[in-house]
């Protein structure tokens, strides 16, 4: 399955239709963006597309109204949609999920006035609503979406896998086994057992009817009845165990809420500190800008002053030339007059004849008539212009630091955007999440801890009960087997052969499936452990970490000198989770792209470098929504090399309008 194109319109900050074209090359597509540009909205848009809901810490999953673009609302445009074109070998799917106003409503006021519609175009044919829904659920089952659509913050959730009997851990484990294809085998084993039980009943009915085996058949029938009762009890116990695990899951979730509240309060504190820091930076930058602004008018005037000087100089030059030309002609006339008066040319000493003197006189008259010196006005103009030029030069408007001012202004704008994002998005979402989290007092935490302990005790008791019943069933099966042997011996030459063969066959099938589940599960665990270790070591910056060790829940421990590393940090937790996800993708029969809204702020630059280098190994297509400040773009390009298939940028036109542009800024 490959993504071909993703489109979004009137959703969050995306006012107009914006598209992400995935290439047909394997590798990583990076979308660069500053905070507040709409990265998380893209993740939410994918959630909306696949599951018809929008995950957000500040709104309910069906709060669609708040996702209509605000400029769109002003323009009377209320519908939004996301669209994904997929290819699967030769098949093309176009999935469109729309949120539209309900029939009869012209101006929606809340999500209650909106309705979600799903359309799927499969190879040019529009599927029915049911088929469309089924197909989208098959393409991306919600339970396993965490392995395809994830943000780095969520990666820590995988640490619960290390805890045995954890409710959340069990849910994730089930999702992992689902992605790895294990249910195909476990369902097979269950079905084989049902068939075997049915055949055993049929066989026993036949045994009771034959007089040579009737007595043994009755005994066996009683054992079969007992076994059936035990199996029913086992079923009940397993249901009880499941209920307890669900309860544990709820307790875990509540515990997580408490932990989440603590982390939200921490986060709020960090955001408030960041807001104060940013305000300080803005004040400092503004002071610098205001200082520069004082002289900005002079820098604005530099070029116009130069242009004016040039224009004045051109006029001065024309007038001066005219003045100089007249002066030169007067000098020539003086020479000519001197030649007439002295009878000798002052230049070459030639003796002038009277004819020549007449000719010179004529020439003097002609030249005098042609001499055009400066008029009084022109003289005044020349004088005025010369004075103005020197006046303008004395103004000293020779400097231009507008480029420095422009940089300061840009820095100031960026800080303001950062502050708006911190305040309007980050702080607002944390505050909303905190206000929705009322379960915080100590009594509540104590009660949760008590319930968790009780639940664990009950789980232990149930597990013991299950073991006891399973042992009892095993005993009964042994007895039944022994009776079956006796019946077999006594029934030679009877009609029982076919019924017995059916039982033997179904037993064999059941054994194959049961064994296959265990073997496949163990093999998967080993493969996942091996692949996760391989990826982990590529990402690890600690030379003494030598492997990852998997537990029955697919939880992974970091091993050093053959021993687990205790108290690993949140950053390492995420690296381990990355490794697990990569390993699951390598081993899962279900293929799909990985889309990650990644926060890399937990990592050192060396860690980042290694993690980025490993991204192409997570899946054939990886879409990374990258925060500009957290990843060095040039380093990422170098680390990914040819595996970076394209780069895009979220470009903020204004707070209501973001565009997706090809290329990096």
């Amino acid at each position: 399955m490959r993504f071909v194109q993703f489109a979004i319109e009137n959703f969050g900050p995306y006012l107009e239709r914006e598209e992400i074209d995935f290439t047909d090359r394997d590798g990583v597509t990076i979308i660069w963006a500053d905070n507040g540009r709409g990265k998380t909205t893209i993740m939410r848009a994918f959630n909306f597309l696949f599951f018809g809901n929008i995950e957000s810490p500040i709104s309910t999953r069906d709060d669609f109204f708040s996702y209509i673009n605000t400029r769109g609302i002003s323009n009377g445009k209320y519908d939004f949609y996301t669209e994904l074109t997929l290819s699967d070998e030769d098949d093309i799917y176009i999935i469109t999920r729309k949120c539209v106003t309900k029939h009869g409503i012209t101006v929606p006021e809340s999500s209650a006035d909106m309705v979600v519609e799903l359309y799927v175009n499969f190879n040019g044919n529009i599927l029915s609503a049911d088929d469309a829904d089924r197909l989208v659920r098959n393409i991306m089952p919600e339970e396993i979406s965490r392995f395809f659509l994830f943000d780095a913050e969520m990666l820590q959730d995988y640490s619960v896998l290390l805890k045995a009997d954890s409710g959340s851990g069990n849910t994730i484990k089930e999702a992992i086994e689902k992605i790895l294809g294990l249910p195909i085998l476990t369902n097979g084993a269950t079905d084989a057992k049902i068939i075997r039980n049915k055949y055993e009943e049929e066989e026993n009915a036949a045994e009771k009817q034959d007089k040579r085996t009737a007595e043994l058949g009755v005994q066996k029938g009683k054992r079969l009845e007992d076994k059936k009762l035990q199996e029913q009890e086992l079923e009940g116990k397993k249901q009880q165990q499941q209920d307890l695990l669900n309860e544990m899951h709820e307790i875990d979730a509540d515990m997580q809420k408490v932990t989440q509240l603590k982390s939200l309060l921490e986060k709020k504190k960090r955001i408030l500190e960041e807001i104060e820091r940013t305000k300080g930076e803005i004040a400092f930058k503004k002071t610098e800008t205001v200082e520069l602004l004082k002289d900005a008018w002079k820098w604005f005037l530099k070029e116009p002053v130069q242009v004016t000087i040039c224009s004045l100089q051109a006029e001065v030059s024309t007038l001066s030339s005219k003045q100089a030309s007249a002066k030169d002609q007067k000098v020539i006339i003086d020479y000519m007059r001197q030649a007439i008066e002295t009878g000798t040319c002052p230049v070459c000493d030639h003796k002038a004849t009277s004819t020549e003197k007449d000719h010179i006189n004529d020439s003097i008259r002609i030249i005098e008539a042609g001499i055009k010196g400066l008029s009084d006005d022109e003289l005044a103009h020349l004088h005025q212009n010369t004075q103005m030029i020197s006046g303008l030069k004395m103004l000293g408007l020779n400097e231009d630091h507008l480029d420095v001012l422009a940089i300061k202004c840009k820095e100031l704008n960026n800080l303001q955007i950062k502050l708006d994002d911190l305040h309007d998005n980050q702080l607002a979402s944390v505050v909303a999440a905190i206000s929705g989290n009322t379960e915080s007092d100590e009594d509540y935490v104590r009660d949760l801890t008590r319930r968790s302990l009780e639940c664990e005790q009950k789980l232990e008791a149930v597990a013991e009960g299950i073991t006891g019943i399973e042992a009892e069933i095993q005993k009964l099966e042994d007895l039944i087997k022994a009776l079956s042997e006796q019946i077999k011996a006594a029934s030679k030459g009877t009609e029982l052969g076919f019924a017995q063969a059916k039982v033997r066959f179904s037993q064999g099938v059941e054994e194959i499936f049961t064994e296959a589940v265990g073997t496949y599960r163990e093999q998967l665990r080993q493969k996942v452990e091996k692949d996760a270790t391989d990826l982990f070591l590529k990402m690890s910056t600690e030379e003494d970490y030598d492997s990852l060790k998997i537990n029955s829940n697919y939880g992974l421990e970091i091993m050093r000198d053959g021993k687990p590393v205790p108290h690993r940090s949140a950053g390492w937790e995420q690296i381990v989770a990355f490794a697990l996800i990569g390993a699951l993708h390598r081993n899962a029969p279900l293929e799909g792209p990985v889309i990650m809204d990644s926060t890399f702020n937990r990592y050192s630059s060396n860690n980042k470098k290694k993690i980025i280098s490993v991204l192409p190994e997570l899946s054939d297509q990886v879409l990374l929504l990258a925060n500009i400040g957290e990843i060095d773009a040039n380093a990422a390009r170098k680390d990914l090399g040819h595996m970076i298939v394209q780069e895009m940028t979220l470009n903020r036109i204004n707070s209501e309008h973001t565009t997706i542009e090809k290329g990096a800024n």
């Binding site: 205001v290 900005a296 008018w297």
Partner: protein
């Protein structure tokens, strides 16, 4: 036309100068006026202050010297526009400049100095 040492800005120009002052981009409204005049000279060279007639004179009144204490503008405007009424010229530039700035601020919804650099 007579050159004048005292003039009033338009209401719109006056409000813009006050806004730039109250947002602390300039310590004085007259500094904002000088910035606006220079902005027009640089960015709109085709603007002719000699033919421009301000909409009204309902804004604050100023002495010309508060905009040009050392006569820099006077010399520049005389040379640039060959005018005998450089103060009237300055009045036009300030009014038009502040009104242009006001329109841009209104369009963006915030005062962003980078829009004028």
């Amino acid at each position: 036309m007579e050159d004048t040492n005292q003039f009033a800005l338009t209401e719109k120009a006056s409000k813009t100068a006050q806004a730039l002052k109250s947002e602390e981009w300039f310590s004085d409204a007259s500094d904002a006026g000088v910035f606006a005049a220079a902005y027009i000279v640089k960015k709109y060279p085709e603007f002719d202050p000699l033919t421009y007639i301000p909409h009204d004179g309902l804004g604050s009144k100023y002495n010309y010297s508060s905009f040009d204490p050392d006569g820099t503008w006077l010399r520049f405007l005389q040379a640039r526009y060959h005018t005998e009424t450089p103060r009237v010229c300055m009045k036009s530039l300030i009014n038009y400049g502040l009104e242009c700035i006001s329109d841009i601020i209104e369009e963006h919804g915030i005062i962003r100095i980078s829009d004028f650099i």
